[in-house]
Point group: C2
Chain length 462, copies 2
Amino acid sequence: MKTTARRGPTEEISLEATKILARLIVASTPEDMPQDVLRAAHSCVLHWMGCSIAGSSEPSVEIALAAVSELRTSPQASLLGRSERVDMLNAAFINGVSADVLSFSDTHPATLIHAGGVIGSAILPLAQQRPISGAQWLHAFVLGFEVACRIGLAIYPWHYQRGWHITGTAGVFGAAAAAAKLLGLDEQKTTWALGLAATQSAGLRQMFGSMSKNLHIGRAAQNGLFSALLASKGFTSSEQSLEAPRGYLNVLGNTPNIDAITADFGRRFEILKNTYKPYPCGVVMHPAIEGCIAVATSQDISAREVARIVLSSNPLVLELTGKKRPTTMLEAKLSVYHAAAIAVICRRASQYEFEPAIVLRPDVMHLRDRVVVACDASIREDESRVQIDLIDGRCYEHHVRHVAGSAARPMSEVEIEQKFRGLVQGRLAQHKAEALISAILALEKLDDVAVLAELATPDPSS
Amino acid sequence: MKTTARRGPTEEISLEATKILARLIVASTPEDMPQDVLRAAHSCVLHWMGCSIAGSSEPSVEIALAAVSELRTSPQASLLGRSERVDMLNAAFINGVSADVLSFSDTHPATLIHAGGVIGSAILPLAQQRPISGAQWLHAFVLGFEVACRIGLAIYPWHYQRGWHITGTAGVFGAAAAAAKLLGLDEQKTTWALGLAATQSAGLRQMFGSMSKNLHIGRAAQNGLFSALLASKGFTSSEQSLEAPRGYLNVLGNTPNIDAITADFGRRFEILKNTYKPYPCGVVMHPAIEGCIAVATSQDISAREVARIVLSSNPLVLELTGKKRPTTMLEAKLSVYHAAAIAVICRRASQYEFEPAIVLRPDVMHLRDRVVVACDASIREDESRVQIDLIDGRCYEHHVRHVAGSAARPMSEVEIEQKFRGLVQGRLAQHKAEALISAILALEKLDDVAVLAELATPDPSS
């Protein structure tokens, strides 16, 4: 550590946060990972792969791959859920797009970052270029997750409110850190990799509801991996890319909490706070969905009887998922109106209920127009009060205190396994799916992570 | 046009600037280009190619190419000044890096955007994928230049002062627009291409003095081309990516001047205001260099006699080029202290005087420590007052009212040709250099622009 006798620790961090973070990344070893962190990482890796495999033939992925195909890339790396291969940077990109496309990703509640898909997509292709053990890879994954969420914590909520899609803009640092670790970069080169990530950080929330939202996850993975690759060859960047007056934290943030980046690094792990979604859509509308399903099921309500549905929710619900009349799957996944309607009509909210055929069904469109959202800042993000008024005058209420999948009511490891099986069903042969689960749940004992990429692609016959 | 009877034109633009811009791009034709605009474009293309060829073996380029080589790309497109070929997106990237590395680029004075290298690098690789006539290509180049500078005008100076490297962050739109035009995108897809550019816009001024500054130009070219390629396949984005409350102009800008983007589009051309540098370094320190050369030459001053050099300059000089003790070429190019020293000692400021051997020479280091910069907001960016005090008490002054290469004293077409010849000397065979000049100065008559890429690469024997 630099000799800074007359400066307190906070001031030191604010003066050289980038270098300190690089030093912490370089110093960390697989042996530093507690057992509960490894288990949390197993769930996160399994869950991300399931989402990517399930999303791998959506239009966002097909179209992105059509563009990449114009480059006639070398077949270096696998695409999850698909039989094509592309070069490692484009594999990071396409796998990132497929991770996000169903809006079914893991969520770090304090920042709304969906980190798993960014970090995993960035470093899986590396394992197909050189032998990487499960222990090394899982450690890099945890480090990358940690870096992304901590940089997010330093600038959330101002950054997100300004209009930045934080999964992309903070995720790129995690991707760079994880890749830097696997490439064995020293402190100098890790510092450059973080700077290269900072200066490629991009992604606007304005894109929500379009394919470009999915692009952010792919580009964060790809740009992070490219940052580490460039730095490994000696490509230089600023060494104060985070903390400088014109560095990342001050240009894309406002009065950042710089200490959040390095305080208790290696002792506190953000991945332990990660959450998983029961429904494939914007996480803030989950409480409303759970409440609507509960009322419709318990009272056996049919859509024809409903006069109106009143959702009392946290204000973020309208801000993030306020699309009144969605016409596509990507829009429906950010429409609390659609979600409430299908929750009542179908009494569930699986991928099927967000497909265009359902989004454009007359009864669904009719009911969603009877949904009213009442924003109330005293209601938490994982909470909702649902009231359904019937035409005949009856009125039912349900209070979701903490929705399933929230930090207070987390999905169990077994439930995540079940979710994975549901996601990959029909896309992977069952023996491959079970082999993938077994490999990931003991990832730190795997000799070569390339096996994961092979198991996550369909058999030629399937 | 949308029917908006009760809205004035300004309000209409602020409500749908992205779509209006897309419509203007689609409607523009090569026949719309006035003769003086074509001539200005000839100079800009010639100048950019010269800078890229001259910069093509600098470390930033070698290292970036070493990273790209790990991808084993297909040999789709040429690299200016080099014999290797890579895929078209990576060609856009590497050519963009080489365009910037010498800090010798063209400058749009009102925004400080160096547009030529971004736009040219983005669309030259396309001409090696499909037949593109000189008239089409030059038209797309002018359109891209226009779009980049107009989006820059909408957010300058707040955006630049905040810390964004505007050549990258606005340049990506120009690259996307030019590529969209050559790919023949319709209004819908051009709108998406602009949105894809918006959500990939990145680059921090904090990187100045490191290789990552060069990266910004390469990535803007590459990301702009990729935006158009994705949109051409149907990849969607927001359709209000510029003007929405959480769109580009409001997230990366502050109270933007949205009208600047489309007002008089096709009647006023920003490329007519483009300027070219006599010295390969930060443009704001040029007046000081000219003043120092003038005094040192006219009074035959030797460095040993100098007590101090006082530069009265616009405040941007210290803000952008205030590096007191540079150690690398990239740092020296942003050090007014180094520049003043070599201007007095060498009485010129060519690429040679920024090489590490000169940057680290004891007499240069000694003299630069005697340079004092006095900032004065009443002095324009193209102006400087130089005072050199000698040890024996003599004192000489020189006032540079408008530096050579500024808008008020622009480089002539012939001078730009001469600069090109100097840049490519020793890198291209003379017959190729002259053929390239001839082809570019009549670009609108060229059948196939792929010829330019071939002429701009060295013979196997050279």
